[in-house]
């Protein structure tokens, strides 16, 4: 079933996009991530112009995070106060990201920057996650091994502007969460991703938040950052394709529910290893495109009609 997209100005197969949305939704339901890091490169791959893919990806992330947060709220696993602090940083980061994106578009280096971000961030996070989850799996097999202390005091706890985060059981400075929020907001604008894959490990390892509130809080914050990103892209470059978003979202929300059911049956460490491998695979795929000699070294950028 072919469908003409009003903003992307390309004709795509609607069932293919529904399917892509479904697969990515399945992964996000299983692993508890937004799935933006998969959606955006897949949209490039099926011929959606990069600027439209990034902006529309952000819109899709809004839908999957709302769905996720509602599920987490029932379990009271959302730290709203922490979410707000992350948020404050997130908006700043997102605004800067959109400005950088527009500058890079003028220079013709958007693709390079997006690809490099993917390789760098996905590669690093994927490798860290893989290493950590393999270690956790080994530890689980050896009972009696020393368990890491839950609360380790680091430099993070010595910063000023401290605040109580009851749901997380933390009393820490607002600066680190704001910085994390800003970094994730920046990436969200550049890469069209929610940034859960960076946010979640940062909350656990840098802020020392308990794992049970991490996913809900990160999703809560991602809703607003990706909503802001979507709105900003719609208003500055007009690149959000609502029809494309609708197809992705429909496929995604259904896929997410099935993914969540499968996810419950798997062990946390196994899930994390699978997610790590997936993240690394995407990063390697994007990376090889940067290194291999392209079939067509030339590219076209259509400027506004006269």
């Amino acid at each position: 079933m072919q469908m003409y997209l009003p903003i992307a100005e390309v004709s795509i197969n609607a069932l293919l996009v529904l399917g892509l949305g479904g697969i990515v939704g399945f992964m996000s339901g299983m692993f508890g991530v937004g799935g933006g890091f998969l959606i955006t490169p897949l949209l490039f791959f099926i011929g959606i112009p990069p600027a439209v893919a990034v902006a529309t990806g952000a819109n899709q992330v809004v839908a999957s995070s709302v769905s996720g947060v509602l599920a987490q709220m029932k379990r009271k696993a959302v730290d709203f106060r922490m979410g707000m602090v992350l948020q404050a940083g997130g908006l700043i980061g997102s605004a800067v990201g959109i400005w950088v994106f527009a500058r890079l578009a003028v220079l013709g280096q958007v693709d390079l920057f997006v690809q490099l971000s993917y390789v760098l961030f996905l590669g690093t996070i994927g490798a860290m996650m893989l290493q950590e989850s393999i270690r956790a799996l080994r530890r689980a097999k050896k009972p009696g091994a020393p368990i890491k202390r839950a609360h380790v005091h680091t430099w993070v706890h010595r910063l000023p502007f401290k605040m109580k985060f009851r749901a997380s059981g933390l009393y820490i400075s607002v600066l680190p969460p704001m910085m994390i929020g800003a970094g994730v907001g920046f990436l969200s604008a550049i890469m069209g991703v929610g940034g859960g894959f960076i946010m979640v490990p940062a909350m656990i390892y840098l802020l020392g938040m308990p794992t049970k509130v991490v996913v809900g809080t990160s999703l809560f914050q991602i809703i607003f950052v990706s909503a802001f990103t979507t709105l900003a892209h719609a208003m500055t470059s007009g690149t959000v394709d609502i029809m494309l978003a609708l197809l992705l979202i429909l496929g995604g929300v259904v896929g997410a529910q099935f993914g969540a059911r499968i996810g419950v049956r798997l062990r946390a460490e196994q899930l994390r290893i699978l997610l790590a491998l997936l993240v690394i695979a995407v990063s390697v795929k994007v990376g090889t495109e940067l290194v291999l000699t392209p079939n067509e070294p030339f590219s076209l950028q259509v400027m506004g009609a006269e």
């Binding site: 072919q2 469908m3 003409y4 009003p6 903003i7 100005e9 390309v10 004709s11 819109n59 899709q60 809004v62 839908a63 999957s64 995070s65 709302v66 769905s67 996720g68 509602l70 599920a71 013709g108 280096q109 693709d111 390079l112 909503a227 979507t230 709105l231 892209h233 719609a234 208003m235 007009g238 959000v240 609502i242 029809m243 978003a245 609708l246 979202i249 429909l250 929300v253 259904v254 997410a256 529910q257 940067l290 290194v291 291999l292 000699t293 392209p294 067509e296 070294p297 030339f298 590219s299 076209l300 950028q301 259509v302 400027m303 506004g304 009609a305 006269e306």
Partner: protein
């Protein structure tokens, strides 16, 4: 005096009025891009009107071109720097059509002379306006070639020699396919009659390609009320997210 004037007109007439002129019809003068748009086929048909018997020395040939709206384009070239491929040189091309199709009765080189091509801008290289590009990069012509190569592989530029049917040196018809990835705008259809590489007559028609229905509504809104459009996209996302979790909660005990 009057007689002299009449003679003058009579003498001038054969030169002013062409011996052969085109009468043309299009199967449609507008194309609506709706959600289910999968491309369109335009039938260009017509006849050659003659005031005198057809000259016999050189055969009549027909060239049909369909040209989409033109835009400026930046062509970039990737080069390897510290192991990765990045965009380096660029050339700005003043104007290139988003779509261009040529259909002819014979090989373009045989039926159209270079001077006539330059005058009427018929072939793909002559329709692309790349003036003053040589200062922008080394070997600038290869950037124009790349533009043509990429657009041809995308199906946006097409050359179909021998695709125009010509019967009895009088009736002609050509089918021009418009692809699904069509850009909105006015598409100019031109028909050229040639003999011995020389253009005998030419005629212009316009096909209006417009987004229609929902496509039109959404596109206009995204351009003219972008804030509202952005909010609508967000509302849709929130509603879908909330809807999905509610529906599945009801299904799942």
């Amino acid at each position: 005096m009057i007689r002299a004037f009449a003679i003058l007109i009579a003498l001038a007439l054969p030169a002013a009025a062409q011996e052969e002129s085109i009468v043309v019809g299009l199967s449609q003068s507008s194309v609506s891009i709706t959600t289910d748009f999968v491309g369109s086929e335009i039938l260009v048909y017509g006849a050659v009107r003659r005031d005198a018997p057809a000259p016999t020395e050189d055969p009549l040939e027909v060239i049909v071109t369909v040209e989409g709206p033109a835009t400026p384009i930046i062509v970039r070239k990737k080069e390897r720097r510290v192991g990765i491929w990045i965009n380096r040189d660029k050339v700005r091309i003043g104007s290139a059509p988003t779509f261009y199709a040529i259909a002819t009765t014979g090989a373009l080189g045989d039926i159209l002379s270079e001077t006539e091509d330059l005058r009427h801008r018929i072939t793909i290289p002559s329709v692309i306006r790349a003036i003053g590009i040589s200062s922008e990069a080394e070997d600038a012509p290869q950037f124009v070639e790349a533009l043509m190569r990429i657009r041809q592989s995308e199906g946006r530029y097409r050359v179909n020699e021998h695709a125009v049917d010509l019967d009895e040196q009088t009736l002609f018809r050509a089918d021009v396919e418009l692809p699904a990835d069509l850009t909105e705008g006015d598409y100019r259809v031109r028909i050229f009659l040639t003999r011995d590489g020389r253009v005998v007559d030419t005629i212009d028609r316009t096909i209006f390609v417009r987004k229609a229905g929902l496509e039109r509504f959404l596109y206009t809104m995204s351009r003219e009320q972008s804030a509202l459009y952005g909010l609508l996209s967000l509302a849709l996302a929130v509603l879908a997210g909330w809807g999905a979790s509610t529906i599945f909660r009801l299904i799942r005990p």
